[in-house]
Structure formats: structure tokens, C-alpha cells
């Protein structure tokens, strides 16, 4: 087990960050060159002003029409993504690792806040799963991949929470936590989780078309 742990925080961590970073860059570049080749006329409408205007407006909870009419998804989505960004980056346990391996550190989340965010993400995942299983529209369009990516996002938080609460053998839990986190990183460029990379661009494009050409808001 010890070796597996060492492997997970050593070479595997390198591999996971490598796959995530290089994979994302490659996907972005290849999508951009595809856009240049095939969607050139459409790219020309891209505008910083209207693109950012749209992104910002969608970042305000209950601002866009879609959020207003889907209140549960709105709250869940914001809580989920906030936790998804804050916990991995600002958890004390993670920052300590940065310090240990790379020699730099930065402010961290108070432990209690981290716990609350972690639980919030876990609950959000359960809400997503519940909707996917019961909502008519979701049942109609859900594929295996949708469940898979939900599970991939769920596992690091579940294992992390269990490890922090000292449930189960600590080494096993921690190893599982590290591995599932790495799995998620590596899955980002190659699954639907890639909306993390492309979502801002599709939103910005819509904002640019609506703002620059159609003179209407898109939220």
C-alpha cells in the first residue's frame, strides 16, 4: 500500500498534471485551428467586450433566464463549481503538499470552511444524480458518459471527506483520494468535463453574436 501511495503522489501525480495540462492545451489549440479552418467567418464576430459581458452575466446566480427558471440547478451548480475550485486549490492538506514538493505556499481555507464546501459538493453531486435519475428530460437524454463524469467528480470529494474524518484505514483512503483526484484531472480534456476548457469560449461566442450583431442580451 505504501508503494502505491508513493506512486500516486510521485510519478502518477506528474503524469496526471501532465495529461491535464498538455491535453488541455492540445485540445484548445486543435479546436482553435479547426475553428480557423472551418468557422472562420464566425470567429470574426468574437468580441472581448460582448464575450466577457455574457460570461459575467451568467456568473451571477439567478441573473440569466435559464437560472431563474431552474432554481434548483442554479443553486446546485454554483455551489458545486465553487467547491470544485476552492477545495482542491485552497485546502490546507493540499497546500502543504505544494510546499513539500515544490517549495511554495499560499493562504488556505479555514478547516471548517473546507469541510463545509466538501460536504456541499458531495450533496450537490447527489442532487445532480437524483435529477439525472428522476427528471424526465434528463432521463431522455442521459448517456453512460454523463453518469461516468459525475462519478469521476464525486469520488475525490467523497474519499477526501472520508479520509479527513478518519473513516477507514487512513493510508488506503488517502491513496484512493489521490488516485481519484488524478483520474479527474486526466479526464478533463477527454470527456464532457472539457466544458471546463471550452465552455467559456462557447459562451463568449454566443455573447459576441448577440451583443455585436443582434444587439440583444443573451442571458
Amino acid at each position: 500500500m505504501r508503494e502505491l501511495y508513493e506512486f500516486a503522489v510521485g510519478p502518477m501525480a506528474w503524469a496526471a498534471f501532465g495529461v491535464f495540462l498538455i491535453g488541455s492545451v492540445i485540445r484548445l489549440i486543435s479546436m482553435y485551428s479547426l475553428a480557423r479552418k472551418k468557422d472562420g467567418p464566425f470567429l470574426s464576430y468574437m468580441s472581448w467586450r460582448f464575450g466577457l459581458r455574457s460570461i459575467l452575466n451568467w456568473l451571477i446566480p439567478f441573473n440569466a433566464q435559464g437560472w431563474k427558471e431552474n432554481p434548483l440547478v442554479c443553486v446546485t451548480t454554483f455551489v458545486f463549481h465553487l467547491g470544485l475550485i476552492l477545495v482542491p486549490l485552497f485546502l490546507l492538506g493540499h497546500v502543504v503538499l505544494w510546499d513539500q514538493y515544490w517549495g511554495f505556499s499560499y493562504p488556505t481555507l479555514p478547516e471548517q470552511a473546507a469541510d463545509i464546501f466538501t460536504i456541499a459538493v458531495i450533496v450537490a453531486c447527489l442532487v445532480f444524480a437524483w435529477r439525472r435519475a428522476t427528471n424526465r428530460t434528463l432521463r431522455f437524454v442521459t448517456t453512460g458518459q454523463d453518469w461516468l463524469v459525475l462519478l469521476i467528480a464525486f469520488l475525490p470529494f467523497l474519499t477526501g471527506f472520508l479520509a479527513s474524518q478518519h473513516v477507514g484505514p487512513p493510508l488506503v483512503m488517502t491513496t484512493l483520494h489521490v488516485l481519484s483526484g488524478e483520474l479527474m484531472l486526466m479526464a478533463i480534456p477527454f470527456t464532457r468535463l472539457s466544458h471546463m476548457i471550452f465552455g467559456l469560449f462557447s459562451r463568449a461566442y454566443m455573447g459576441s453574436e448577440f451583443g455585436g450583431v443582434r444587439h440583444a442580451k443573451d442571458w
Binding site: 468557422d39 435559464g66 424526465r136 428530460t137 434528463l138 465552455g199 462557447s202 450583431v213 442571458w219
Partner: protein, 439 residues
């Protein structure tokens, strides 16, 4: 639930399906994806989280009690995703189903764009499906007929060249009994603007040309209409998926304006035509924006009223409600000008809810009404939500500055027994303006 339970017989779809083989479908589909589609389609397909937030955006979904097969994401899943998953290796029947969904169960109204956090353009994906169906020859008979008409005559309704000028002169004659020195100036080079209309106007709504001429005459405009093909600004080829004919129609329209050396094109009260001229045709022809300035009637009337060229003798007795046509509101942002005009010419406005950019579509647009009688019920039943919205205003008159919307709303008002009157802005301005030159 699902298209299998609601297939509708249509001669065009049946004929198209009968001529297909699975090989031909696969080859055409793969060529389309490799040739005309790029990063937009790929991003949309990959990043859609299947979250279902777009469901309540769609009037079909709302009108069918949340039937998921009418949700934007449901329709995309039944068409494009299915095709992509099979790499186009599907039966002709699947193409027939795709065609019915894409041509008759989506108005390309873009309302769902206000609901999708990722900015996924469902209307674009559905138009790619239409493009495929067009290439495979599986198109509803009636809309195909209008595309043929565009191809043969450059107008939507088989209006012959001499019938066009005849209709204009007939309306000029009629109008001269009211305004003795009124002209409908044909082919006048260097005029301030070219007025363009959709083919149904000369075909069976000729009084609209009379009204427009009366308004322009009273306002002292320096205007003209073309005496040649290129006068029709409608474009059903844009909706049938026939981009080549769509482009030809738009090129003629722009070139006619350029030949007449007018400063701009003023378009009648039509929405889809505006979309074709304002932001679709120009792109196909390689122009980032339209090569000749394009102004919709809402904006033009606003100018005439604002500059005092038209004065109202009385107001239309209200209150009225305002229908926001997708293609000039979500497509051009004319919601404020529309309200200013209506408030100026009518006595009181009761707003629909939701309105402006979020208004529900009339369910006729996007070529759906042009798919003809076989699909009439699809759009009437599919827009109960609009009927409820209209009813909730409690008013007697609805203003809709768009031909398609008139078609769609008329059917809904009739079917749901709403007893409302429908008006164009031009109807009211003509009726209630001061007419100093009239006898």
C-alpha cells in the same frame, strides 16, 4: 413520447425517404460533417452537459406538459447526436424522423440560448440537420415548393415578373383615389431607400403595399421599388437547408439595391426576411455585415415618428399587447423602438410575460408554417403556451410586426378562441395618421 408516436404523412418526406439508401445517407452525412461543420458543432456536442436547463425555454416543451422529446436538448439528441453516434449509418426512416423534428418542431427561434449556461446554439445544430435533409432530398413538400419558387423566379410565391409590376401599379391606382399625386416609384436610381417586401404581399396582402405607399407618400420620402426580380426579401431556402439558393436570392436582393444606388434597404414588417438579409445571406456571400444598410420597418417607422414626418391624428383605442418577433428582437434588438412606436400610436400597452428577448415564439417562424397544412396542428398544439400568454393579457388587440407571426398567431387565436385582433404597425399608422394630402 418520441417522434415514433407522432409521425405525420407528407408527400415530400415520403418521396425523399423512398429514394434513399443507407449508403447514400452515410456518405452524405460524413461529407457534410467533414466539409461544412467544424469547431462549433464539435464543441456543442461535446460540452452539452445534458442538464436539461433548456427544456422550459421551448414553447413546444411547455405546450406539451414537459414532454422531453420536445426539449431543445431532446430534439438534438433525437437527431444530430443519433446521427453522429451512428456516423450517419441509419435507415431512411431515421432521416424522415429527423426531418420532421428539424423542420416542424423547432422554429430556430433561439429562445433556448437564454437558458443554456454553456451557450449551446441548438438552433444552429437543428439547421445542420435541415441541411443534411435537404442534401438527401427529404424535405416537407410545401417548403420545398417555396424553395423551388425562389430558385425559378427569385421570389417565394411564383409571382411572375409582369405580375409584380402590375400589382404595384394596381395599388398605386387604388391609392391615387385617396392621395391624388401618390406614386409608387419604380426603378428610381439614387433614391434614399429601396423598399422591399415578401412575396405574399403582392400575392394576397396587396393592401399592405398600399398602406406603405401611403405612409411614405405622406412622410415625403424619396423611395423606390425595383421593377425586376430581387424585390422579394423573403427566403425559404434559408430554412429548407438550401444554402446555395438562399445565397443566390440574397445576392440578387443586395445587387438590386446596389444597381438602384439607394442608400439603404427598408424592409416591410417581416422577421424571417430580416434575418435572411441582416445576418444570414451576407455571411454566405462573404460579407461580415450586410453590404447595403438594412432597416426593418419598426425602426423606420420609429424614425418617421421621431422626426415628425408622420403625425398621428388619433391613437388606436387600446389597450393592446405587443408580440416580440424573434428575428427582430432576439435577432436585432428592436424591443425598445417597438415599444416606443406602439406607445406613440396606441392608447395603452399591457405587456406579455415574459417579453422582450424572452418572449415566446409564434411557432410559425423558422419555416414551420411553410411546411403547410400537414403540420398545421403541430404548431397550433405546440404553442398552447403562447395562447395562454396572450389570454393572460386580457386585451383585445395584439400588435405583431411580422408576417410569419401573423400567420402563426392568427391560427392560435382562432383555435383557442381568444377573439383577439392582430395588427401590423403599418395598419395602425395608416389608419390613424394625419393625411394632409388625402382627398
Amino acid at each position: 413520447m418520441g417522434i415514433e408516436q407522432r409521425r405525420i404523412d407528407d408527400a415530400g418526406l415520403a418521396r425523399g425517404m423512398a429514394a434513399l439508401t443507407p449508403e447514400k445517407i452515410a456518405k452524405t452525412f460524413q461529407a457534410l460533417i467533414a466539409g461544412e461543420c467544424g469547431a462549433r458543432l464539435r464543441t456543442y456536442v461535446e460540452t452539452c452537459m445534458r442538464c436539461g436547463m433548456c427544456g422550459p425555454a421551448c414553447h413546444y416543451f411547455l405546450s406539451h406538459d414537459g414532454d422531453p422529446s420536445y426539449a431543445p436538448v431532446g430534439k438534438v439528441s433525437e437527431t444530430m447526436w443519433k446521427l453522429l453516434k451512428a456516423d450517419g449509418k441509419v435507415d431512411p426512416r431515421v432521416i424522415g424522423d429527423c426531418a420532421q423534428i428539424a423542420y416542424t418542431e423547432c422554429n430556430l427561434c433561439r429562445r433556448c440560448m437564454h437558458y443554456c449556461p454553456l451557450g449551446i446554439d441548438t438552433a444552429y445544430i437543428i439547421s445542420v440537420v435541415r441541411r443534411l435533409c435537404h442534401k438527401l432530398g427529404v424535405t416537407p413538400m410545401y417548403i420545398q415548393d417555396t424553395a423551388h419558387s425562389h430558385s425559378a423566379t427569385l421570389n417565394q410565391m411564383w409571382v411572375k415578373d409582369d405580375e409584380w409590376t402590375d400589382s404595384l401599379q394596381w395599388q398605386e391606382d387604388e391609392a391615387r383615389s385617396e392621395f391624388p399625386d401618390l406614386r409608387i416609384p419604380l426603378e428610381m436610381e439614387g433614391a434614399d431607400f429601396m423598399y422591399s417586401v415578401i412575396a405574399p404581399e403582392p400575392k394576397f396582402r396587396t393592401q399592405l403595399i398600399y398602406q406603405a405607399a401611403a405612409i411614405f407618400h405622406t412622410a415625403g420620402c424619396n423611395w423606390t421599388m425595383p421593377g425586376t426580380p430581387g424585390w422579394d426579401n423573403s427566403n425559404m431556402a434559408m430554412f429548407s437547408g438550401d444554402a446555395e439558393i438562399m445565397g443566390r436570392v440574397e445576392r440578387y436582393h443586395f445587387e438590386t439595391a446596389q444597381r438602384l444606388r439607394v442608400k439603404r434597404i427598408v424592409m416591410g414588417e417581416c422577421g424571417h426576411a430580416f434575418r435572411a438579409v441582416y445576418d444570414v445571406g451576407n455571411r454566405w456571400l462573404g460579407w461580415k455585415m450586410h453590404p447595403v444598410p438594412v432597416v426593418h420597418s419598426i425602426e423606420f417607422f420609429w424614425e418617421l415618428l421621431d422626426q415628425g414626418k408622420i403625425r398621428m391624428a388619433s391613437k388606436y383605442p387600446g389597450p393592446v399587447t405587443i408580440h416580440d418577433p424573434c428575428n427582430v428582437i432576439r435577432g436585432r434588438g428592436l424591443m425598445d423602438k417597438l415599444r416606443e412606436v406602439v406607445n406613440h400610436i396606441c392608447d395603452g400597452v399591457v405587456e406579455m410575460s415574459p417579453n422582450r428577448e424572452h418572449n415566446l415564439c409564434c411557432c410559425a417562424g423558422g419555416g414551420v408554417i411553410n411546411c403547410g397544412p400537414p403540420f398545421k396542428n403541430v404548431r397550433i398544439v405546440g404553442n398552447k403556451a403562447k395562447a395562454d400568454q396572450l389570454k393572460a393579457t386580457g386585451v383585445q388587440t395584439c400588435i405583431a410586426p411580422c408576417h410569419n407571426c401573423h400567420g402563426g398567431l392568427e391560427d392560435i387565436i382562432h383555435h383557442y378562441k381568444l377573439g383577439m385582433k392582430l395588427k401590423f404597425l403599418g395598419d395602425i399608422i395608416y389608419e390613424h395618421m394625419e393625411k394632409p394630402g388625402a382627398v
